[in-house]
């Protein structure tokens, strides 16, 4: 009996991993570059949104500055992986010990994540003491600081100029391994005692304090972990896009991630995934449709910008009718679904 429950517990994750691997394998083998790009973009966005959820959803620290960590991850990893001959041309003023380094993707990504985490720790020590809107404004300030540093630190970042020549290391596989890992980590934290500490601190700070929950400690831990994963996503993004400049990591990007998070539902990991999936696929479909098309004799001219307007209307509708987002802080209960499928099968078997 004990053995079978343990096995039963392993079934949902195993089913999910198998399903994901099958989908990715099919995309990798059959689909063209276009579809593969969309799958990669979804994967990177899943990491960005799920990790932001850790901070904004679980602890209630509504950060507007996470794109700053994405920028740090992108630049740090790209400096590390940039081929040596391109370093001599594009970053001639790098210190000598970096000049000869061209790292593989994985260590560079890990280091980039760690750097983002260290910065988050330094910033978080003071910022996590703030509350509500003050924390949002302060993190927005952090984003502006990152922007100014990137533009002025020519030696490492080429300033405002395009950082080009980053090797295109991001593939469906490495992106989605990170994405699956992120979802798993965030989901496990959410379900752990530690995750309950975070929520307690979010919902009622004084009550949480009186029960011995260290509000600042739990917020800081969530903020740092979230920054690590966001930094990783930044590295993946950089090795997918391959050329970028500081303005790639500013308000537009920040708000697009926050929109996906809020639409999916703050505090729900499955909500994050659903939000990313819906918004990425829908905006992609609308982008193709806004170019105009023919239905029979009816010819619709291109209306550029229509996709953004429609998406905005959709967001407003979601916020009006489902203020807590599509998932409203709940999770999809995969075990429950599997159990129900199992139960109905058993029911049929008995009948």
């Amino acid at each position: 009996m004990a053995m079978s429950t343990r096995l039963q517990r392993l079934i949902p994750p195993a089913v999910m991993i198998a399903a994901l691997a099958a989908i990715l394998g099919a995309t990798d083998l059959v689909a063209g570059d276009y579809l593969q790009r969309i799958v990669i973009i979804i994967g990177i966005n899943v990491i960005l949104v799920a990790s932001l959820n850790l901070s904004n959803g679980f602890t209630g620290v509504f950060s507007l500055g996470h794109v700053g960590f994405m920028a740090i991850g992108a630049y740090a990893a790209s400096i590390l992986t940039l081929p040596v001959h391109l370093k001599a041309v594009n970053l001639p003023d790098l210190p000598g010990w970096l000049q000869g380094v061209a790292m593989p993707f994985l260590p560079a990504t890990l280091i980039a994540g760690l750097i983002a985490m260290l910065v988050a720790f330094a910033v978080g020590l003071s910022l996590m003491r703030l509350n509500g809107a003050y924390i949002s404004v302060a993190t927005l300030g952090f984003l502006v600081i990152v922007q100014v540093v990137l533009v002025n630190w020519d030696q490492f970042t080429r300033g405002a100029r395009t950082f080009a020549g980053v090797p295109a290391y991001a593939t469906i596989w490495n992106v989605w391994i990170w994405a699956a890992l992120t979802v798993y980590v965030v989901w496990r934290i959410g379900a752990s005692a530690f995750g309950r500490d975070m929520r307690a601190a979010r919902d009622n700070e004084i009550a949480a304090l009186s029960l011995g929950v260290s509000v600042i400690r739990s917020r800081l831990l969530a903020f740092c972990m979230s920054a690590f994963l966001t930094g990783v996503a930044g590295s993946l993004w950089a090795h997918f896009i391959t050329s970028f400049s500081p303005k790639s990591f500013f308000f537009t990007q920040a708000f697009s991630i926050i929109t996906m998070l809020v639409i999916g539902g703050l505090g729900s990991v499955s909500g994050s995934v659903i939000g990313v999936f819906l918004i990425t696929v829908l905006s992609e479909l609308l982008r193709n449709a806004e170019r105009g098309f023919d239905i029979g004799a009816l010819h619709l001219p291109p209306i550029y910008g229509a996709s953004q307007i429609l998406m905005a209307v959709l967001f407003v509708l979601v916020i009006v009718f489902k203020p807590a987002g599509l998932m409203g802080g709940r999770e999809i209960d995969i075990r429950g679904i599997l159990r129900r499928i199992g139960a109905s099968r058993r029911g049929k078997g008995a009948a």
Binding site: Y34, A160, R161, T162, A164, E284, R287, R291, F293, Q308
Partner: protein
């Protein structure tokens, strides 16, 4: 929840079907057009797209190329690198275009051009003037406009020869690759000709207050003969106005970022005695014959005069590609690239285009414009004697 999700899915499926419809016939040559119709770049890119559409219409009305009609397959880049990369992939793989063109910003070009190169087709940028671009995407990335080193050199030579300037104050926007390079090239050519830079200062894109820079300039003992301010279109008006209001009367010079109605609208009288280098003078009375014809056609098609020189650049780029296809004798991407490289003295609204052996930046004349009584007037057409290395 479930019904709502179902509605969304059905709508999505409908959109997919719609998106797949409307494919062109066999008797057309498809060229990919990528501009940012929305977002930060739209003020430059939308006129370029209009110009390009006008050129395609004219070519098709005259019988097309090689007996086939030209079809511009277009996506909105939305001023977003990820979207642009995806759109470029669609053009290369789904639409199977034979060439691509577009964009007025090097970041945007770099998001699309590598995809084109990977598919073995050329990408011609209509308005991104960074001379460093072609080296980033070997063999397949071409400029239809002059490089910033050319316009900065033309500005420096005009300053020395015609304005008789010996000393200059340099102000550079540190927030853009375009302004950084422009300032650097100007300084190089100006100093090379015996001029001196008395003071060099900088600011950030979007800054609204320039009093610190002005105070520093006024604190100089030796007053510079002129000011060279490398700024983007959104900032030029504000900067010129504040310097003039503070009593700075010397000539101010800049690059094609000044080629916007905002210069006179924002700076008003302060815009007098401002010089800038650009692609052509878009004026129905003072422009060249090609410009006059273009303005009339543009006005007839879109009910507005061309917004800026980028309209002309979009127009010239399509004509350039059509000419290459014609000379190639086929719509084979390899043949098009060979013919494009061999382009010689092709007349256009923004000047004649010639690609030297091994260079993918055209040799083009530069138009120097002087603002007089609130209008842009032609100061001189300059072909620089010497151009700084990219």
């Amino acid at each position: 929840m479930k019904t709502r999700l179902a509605i969304v899915l059905v709508a999505a499926a409908a959109l997919i079907l719609v998106g797949c419809g409307g494919k062109g016939g066999g008797n057309t040559i498809k060229i990919g057009m990528l501009f940012n119709m929305t977002g930060a770049q739209a003020s430059l890119d939308a006129p370029s797209a209009n110009g390009a559409n006008l050129a395609a219409k004219e070519i098709n009305a005259a019988g097309g190329v090689l007996g086939k009609q030209i079809k511009l397959v277009s996506f909105d880049g939305k001023s977003d690198a990820a979207t642009i990369g995806t759109a470029a992939t669609q053009l290369a793989q789904t639409e199977k275009v034979v060439a691509m063109f577009g964009f007025s910003d090097s970041d945007m070009v770099m998001a699309a051009a590598p995809t084109a190169a990977k598919a073995g087709i050329v990408f011609v940028t209509s308005g991104a003037t960074s001379p460093k671009l072609p080296d980033q995407v070997p063999d397949y990335l071409y400029l239809a406009c002059f490089g910033d080193n050319v316009q900065a050199a033309a500005g420096a030579e005009y300053a020395i020869n015609s304005l008789k300037a010996k000393t200059v104050y340099l102000l550079i926007d540190k927030g853009m690759e375009y302004t950084l390079l422009l300032g650097k090239y100007f300084k190089e050519r100006f100093v090379e000709q015996g001029g001196t830079v008395v003071l060099e200062d900088n600011y950030q894109t979007g800054d609204k207050d320039f009093s610190a820079q002005i105070t520093k300039l006024k604190g100089q003992k030796a007053k510079p003969d002129m000011l060279y301010i490398a700024a983007g279109p959104d900032d030029v008006g504000t900067i010129v106005k504040q310097f003039r209001d503070a009593g700075v009367k010397s000539p101010i010079m800049g690059g094609d970022g000044y080629d916007t109605p905002l210069l006179v609208q924002v700076a008003g009288k302060g815009a007098e005695n401002v010089y800038f280098t650009t692609h052509s003078l878009m004026d129905p009375k003072l422009g060249t014959d090609a410009v006059k014809k273009f303005i009339a056609a543009y006005q007839a098609e879109f009910k507005v005069p061309p917004e800026n020189a980028f309209a002309g650049l979009g127009y010239d780029t399509v004509k350039l590609l059509a000419d290459s296809i014609k000379r190639a004798g086929s719509a084979d991407p390899k043949a098009i690239r060979k013919a494009l490289q061999a382009t010689k003295d092709l007349p256009g609204v923004t000047g004649a285009i010639t690609y030297q052996e091994g260079s993918r930046i055209p040799q083009k004349g530069v138009t120097v414009i002087l603002v007089k009584d609130g209008t842009f007037t032609l100061a001189q057409e300059v072909v620089p004697q010497k151009v700084p290395q990219p």
